[in-house]
Symmetry: C2
Subunit: 389 residues, 2 copies
DNA sequence: CTCGCGATAGAAAGCGCTTACTGAATCTGC
DNA sequence: GCAGATTCAGTAAGCGCTTTCTATCGCGAG
């Protein structure tokens, strides 16, 4: 039915081996022969059988990317950057990105990881926040370890917990992430010296196959809240992200750290959790305002939620930023176009995605210790101002 | 190194065939045996080797989705819906979505298609507008034909040209798309009767493997412009999408059809082309206003561009909608939150994506003639109103 | 001249899994 | 109880490609 290597070989009057060599190009083939083969390939419109070559060569050109929500620009930007990097490199050959939508579900995350392992993916990139549930963290670590063991490169993009758990599993102790673009050594990896006798040793997580690119969520949130406090705000509401997720925890911690630094009391009633969408932002802000009408500022879980917050504030007849300042997070493309333009914290999404892509292709060296924390930058725009009492 | 079927078989004290049968579950295996096998699989943490099984079974569980820009919610929504559908079905097994970012480049489109063919993808879904370039259309048709011939299901989602070209290639003549949710028979497919002698016949495009889900861009645009005209607007600017793309052409045609229906003269200077992003919208609107300060309304290529249009209008000191009405297209999630909320045309993105997913899995019957045009719905919000002279 | 070496091309052994075929029990109905 | 239907498990032949290991051909060195 389909054209195979053998067909090409027959047509070019060479052996299958030669055709294979011409196509993979890692073996000397005389120019004339190569030409004949290439012509035959052309004439027969031959396309390599991926599964077959993956089986024979024990390697594949698939790279998996796990995202929480593919319709969310946050992930779209990262995924886009990754893919550009994957296909940009002539060297190493075109890789195919497999984007998997977990919807934030730990189970689906595991399912996809297994599916990717089944495909013998060359690399796997996990993006976005992770569940803080211990049981899931353990299961995830185990799966990641199996993947790494099978030679799949693993890159965690914006999720520190993973590496912490994995490192913990191997006894290494990563320092507390905090600085920006700092990289630290979580204790030298134990020498992987060949121990012929220890053939039955428990499979240790090859930490060297795991790289983490973390966002400085905590620092960014701290800066943002500090900015608000600097403007004179004292009653600041917080629309936090989904409960039980690493990113939510980090941003909340930064927010509270700023509050604490300025000696401002923080009460639970000024925090409401919600998803990263407009409706959640709207509901959360409405709830916040109901609880305490005197709030002068609200920080949202991200820019999308901030849009909902703005709508809720306005529906209450309040002006932004005169009555209530509103701030987002992530600096998604549309936030500059919101009215008023959103003050937010910019995360280097594009850059991080590209870096993750390079790491996945093995085209970039992993940072020392396998961990790099990327700077978050405060972007002040029109949605925040001094409170007008 | 890795655990194989044979290892599991040995551990369960059965043959490899039996393990395979238990795992794929399409052959009777005694309950006891099945239990032993499953236990062994569990104990050894066995994961099927995808490439190997794909090779042996001559089938894969990969489904490719081509999008113009993965960071654009338009595609994100479609892709998300597709993926939900792919993994939602217990029946037929979990499929893996491979999302490919073409960036709107015809070459990359072809490249990805070849890459997917190499992986022997079970199905391929092409979304978004296509290039109107004839040479590319031909190349695309040829590639699609090869894919279809190899048994890959092909679904075109929001791009009518593809099927037209393919149909043309087989001699069928699809009627002019126009109605909403109408489906029509582009001439009965030629009987595919088995002709033993014709074994060397030129490979005909198996049209039955191709399905098109088209958006009624023309109708939507017509409604939108008619709405504007109905409000009293006569000088309407148009920020069209990228030149040379099917979607752009369709929307423009609808716009002009409405204009013509009301006897309003259309001049080229009221149309400017641009990309589907905010910056393009901004620039295009600025240009339009420079050319003709008296415009009372502007329709944008899509919601994202509309955001830019709004910004440009405001920067000129004009109010929306009092001085200039602005309308978008697609009804992306954020458009309801724009200020003022955007009047736009809703496209059933989610629904279409889901349908494409089902079609790709072979879980839904293709519409008669392989073509279904999906209704576009005018959504009137606050950004359009009667012109205030 | 003959030997040996570099440069190429071919032969063949799998890679791990699926799936006809077979084969051996265990059931049916008479 | 026995022929024939059933049910379940094993055998083995590939799927299409990669990759050793060999073989051949020239050609300059000895």
């Amino acid at each position: 039915m389909a054209v195979t290597l053998a067909d090409v070989a027959a047509r070019a009057r060479v052996s299958a081996a030669t055709v294979s060599r011409v196509l993979s190009g890692n073996y000397p083939v005389a120019a004339g022969t190569r030409g004949r083969v290439l012509r035959a390939v052309e004439e027969l419109a031959y396309v390599v059988n991926g599964p077959a070559s993956a089986l024979a060569a024990a390697s594949s050109d698939l790279v998996g990317i796990l995202v929480n929500d593919i319709a969310d620009p946050f992930f779209g930007i990262i995924a886009g950057a990754v893919q550009t990097e994957l296909s940009g490199a002539a060297q190493g050959g075109e890789k195919l990105a497999v984007v998997c939508n977990t919807g934030g579900s730990p189970e689906r995350e595991l399912t996809y990881l297994t599916l990717l392992q089944r495909q013998r993916a060359a690399a796997v990139i996990l993006t976005g926040s992770a569940s803080e549930d211990a049981a899931h963290a353990r299961a995830l670590t185990a799966t990641l370890a199996r993947l790494a063991e099978a030679g799949t490169r693993v890159v965690l993009c914006g999720r520190p917990t993973g590496v912490a758990a994995a490192a913990e599993a191997t006894g290494a102790v990563p320092g507390e992430s905090q600085g920006a673009e700092e990289t630290r050594e979580p204790g030298k990896a134990r020498g992987a010296g060949k121990t012929p006798e220890a053939d039955e040793a428990p499979p240790r997580v090859p930490l060297t196959a795991l790289t983490t690119l973390a966002f400085d969520n905590r620092g960014g949130a701290r800066q943002l809240t500090a900015h608000l406090i600097g403007l004179g705000h004292r009653r600041i509401g917080c629309v936090a992200g989904p409960a039980g997720r690493t990113t939510t925890g980090e941003r909340l911690a930064g927010h509270r750290a700023a509050l604490a630094a300025y000696g401002i009391e923080d009460t639970p009633r000024r925090t409401v959790h919600g998803a990263y969408d407009r409706a959640s932002g709207y509901d959360a802000a409405a709830e916040l305002l109901r609880r305490e009408a005197g709030l002068t500022a609200i920080v949202a879980a991200n820019d999308t939620a901030a849009l909902g917050v703005c709508a809720a504030v306005r529906d209450r007849g309040l002006r932004i930023p005169e009555d209530v300042s509103v701030a987002g997070f992530d600096d998604l493309p549309f936030s500059v176009d919101a009215t008023p333009a959103l003050t937010t914290v910019r995360l280097p999404l594009q850059e991080t995605g590209a870096r993750a892509g390079r790491l996945a292709m093995g085209r970039e060296e992993r940072p020392p210790g396998g961990l790099a924390t990327l700077r978050a930058e405060l972007i002040v725009r029109a949605s925040t101002s001094v409170p007008c009492p």
